[in-house]
């Protein structure tokens, strides 16, 4: 809760004091406020500070931040600090774009803490609407325009489907509050068959949320949008939107747990197709950004596997998985942004990176190993805990997940073909000290949590 307030006020300050200033001047303030908010959320989680009385006016039937949600909030804030801190800021654009990013983040936090369908809906919209603007922030670029309009149309379309699901759930259970909904569904479970309104509502809401996290067959927009948007926005979309969207989806589905065996029947095939199609389509891509888009689709498939596991047991592993995915993807996007040029997004941008810049080469190696799930990185820890837990509930889903991971190595290791060539880089830019410190921090977290998983498990 305190994290949300800090981010909200700093967003207002950055938006209104920064319209005239170039982005560069507000970047440090943004990253600083994100880190402070993450730290305070962590303190709130560990009960170092007591905010119960401060936020007593917020009804807990609307927004309720329990321990798991607070740790997710801290994680999301930390990841956005890394995303924004790693990306270079332009001299020309105003810092209102940073303000908008923070407002989008507010929406993400509201999604994480929502306890009411209205709050969930508002969170989704507060997250999405600034992102429609940000996706098209490169006004003269036709690809960015295309990405913006595609993202807008698909976002609004999926919201409408989600809302129809909400209406059916409201008609079926008579309430919008998660806790009461759970009671009603549990009550219906005693009579055997569930009302058709509830079933339809669950399907429609799932379709809306699956659109947001870009699971197959609702993924067709995401490679185009990810490729066309500016790099920082793509990174934000691939990480924050996916994590917040999925956690909100898991919390929503946890209210329909009596119907678990029914919704698993169609969610498991979706997860399997998402993993296989994301990884196979990733293999044939030429552009790095598009490959990462397909990789993030495949990761959405792994995330859906969490729904196999009863909600009470998966809090910890969901946290670890999100941390691993977020850290490695943000490092990859940083490297893409640093070495790509406007017309070259091939894998050749990494040619000779080991020769020219040892730190970035190390970051590339770690990020790739972690995404592929090789031991001694956090990616392995995350995949191991997920697969071993899900194996208790459905063996075949885990087998498909393992096959998908094996396929993914083909494209994750493509940069290595060029990284160790004894040449100099095509484009070499210097990073600031601050960026390098954040990069080292991200690299350290990838290695340390991989070698000593006991810290976060």
């Amino acid at each position: 809760m305190i994290g949300l307030s800090i981010i909200f006020f700093s967003a207002i300050i950055i938006l209104f004091t920064g319209i005239q200033k170039p982005e560069k001047k507000s970047k440090n303030l943004t990253v600083f406020s994100l880190l402070v908010a993450a730290l305070f959320s962590l303190f709130e989680n560990l009960e170092v500070i007591n905010t119960q009385t401060l936020f007593a006016w917020v009804p807990s039937s609307m927004l309720d931040f329990n321990n798991f949600r607070l740790s997710m909030v801290a994680l999301v804030l930390f990841l956005s600090a890394i995303i924004i801190g790693l990306m270079p800021s332009s001299e020309k654009k105003g810092s209102d774009l940073l303000g908008l990013t923070l407002f989008a983040l507010c929406g993400g936090i509201i999604m994480l803490g929502s306890n009411h369908l209205v709050m969930l809906f508002l969170g989704i919209e507060i997250l999405s609407i600034p992102l429609y603007v940000l996706a098209g922030s490169d006004k003269k670029n036709l690809f960015a325009n295309e990405a913006a309009i595609k993202y807008f149309l698909m976002g609004a379309f999926s919201t409408a489907i989600f809302l129809l699901g909400c209406a059916f759930i409201y008609g079926g259970t008579g309430t919008l509050i998660f806790g009461e909904m759970q009671l009603k569904v549990g009550f219906a479970a005693h009579f055997g068959e569930f009302p058709i309104l509830i079933k339809l509502g669950v399907i429609l809401m799932s379709v809306g949320m699956l659109f947001k996290i870009s699971a197959v067959p609702f993924h067709f927009w995401s490679p185009d949008v990810y490729e066309g948007s500016p790099n920082r926005v793509t990174s934000f979309m691939a990480i924050i939107v996916k994590i917040c969207g999925f956690v909100a989806f898991a919390q929503l589905m946890s209210n329909f747990e009596p119907m678990h065996s029914w919704y698993i029947k169609w969610l498991i095939p979706i997860s399997g197709i998402t993993i296989l199609l994301g990884n196979i389509a990733g293999m044939v891509q030429k552009s790095v950004k598009r490959t990462l888009a397909y990789s993030s689709i495949a990761h959405a498939g792994y995330l859906i596997l969490f729904l196999l596991i009863p909600y009470a047991e998966n809090a910890q592993i969901l946290f670890v998985y999100s941390l691993s995915y977020g850290l490695s993807t943000s490092v990859m996007f940083y490297l893409i942004d640093k070495y790509s040029t406007a017309d070259n997004f091939d894998f050749t941008i990494f040619k000779g990176i080991f020769n020219s810049n040892k730190l970035d080469a190390m970051a590339l190696i770690l990020a790739v190993l972690s995404l592929a799930g090789i031991p001694a990185t956090i990616g392995f820890t995350a995949k191991y805990v997920l697969f071993s837990k899900a194996f208790e509930y459905n063996q075949w889903a885990v087998v498909i997940g393992l096959v998908g991971s094996a396929i993914s190595i083909v494209y994750y290791f493509k940069p290595f073909k060029y990284a160790f060539v004894n040449e100099n880089l095509l484009t070499n830019r210097e990073s600031s000290l601050f960026t390098n410190i954040l990069l080292v921090l991200a690299m350290l977290s990838i290695v340390v949590f991989g070698l000593i998983p006991g810290i976060i498990l």
Binding site: F121, E125, V133, N145, L153, F157, F168, Y170
Partner: protein, 108 residues
């Protein structure tokens, strides 16, 4: 006047909203003009509004939760339309078209 609305069965409201929703859905899927797509999305949202209001009345919800939801949907739909039209204006300046058929620049 109020009585007429209360005498209509809830199932009719559900069918009507589903029909309206499907008209919007197929409009989004098959029309090419971006402004018409926006109108279709608005139609989908408004069919949800109708359904929410009907359910509230039907269940006699004392807190009128559904009708409160309708106001939120209206506000968000307005904000969304504002941003969507702004994006359309930006696209129109670059391409001189409001047709979505230009959406094929990004490919595998």
């Amino acid at each position: 006047m109020l009585g007429i609305f209360q005498n209509i069965e809830i199932s009719h409201y559900i069918y009507l909203s589903c029909v309206l929703f499907c008209i919007g859905l197929f409009g989004v899927l098959f029309r090419r003009n971006a402004i018409i797509l926006l109108m279709c999305i608005e139609l989908m949202l408004n069919s949800v509004n109708l359904l929410m209001a009907a359910f509230t009345e039907y269940m006699g919800d004392q807190n009128a939760n559904g009708q409160m939801f309708v106001f939120f949907i209206m506000v968000v739909a307005a904000a969304e339309a504002a941003v969507g039209l702004a994006i359309l204006v930006m696209v129109y300046r670059n391409t001189k078209k409001t047709d979505v058929s230009f959406l094929d620049g990004l490919k595998d």
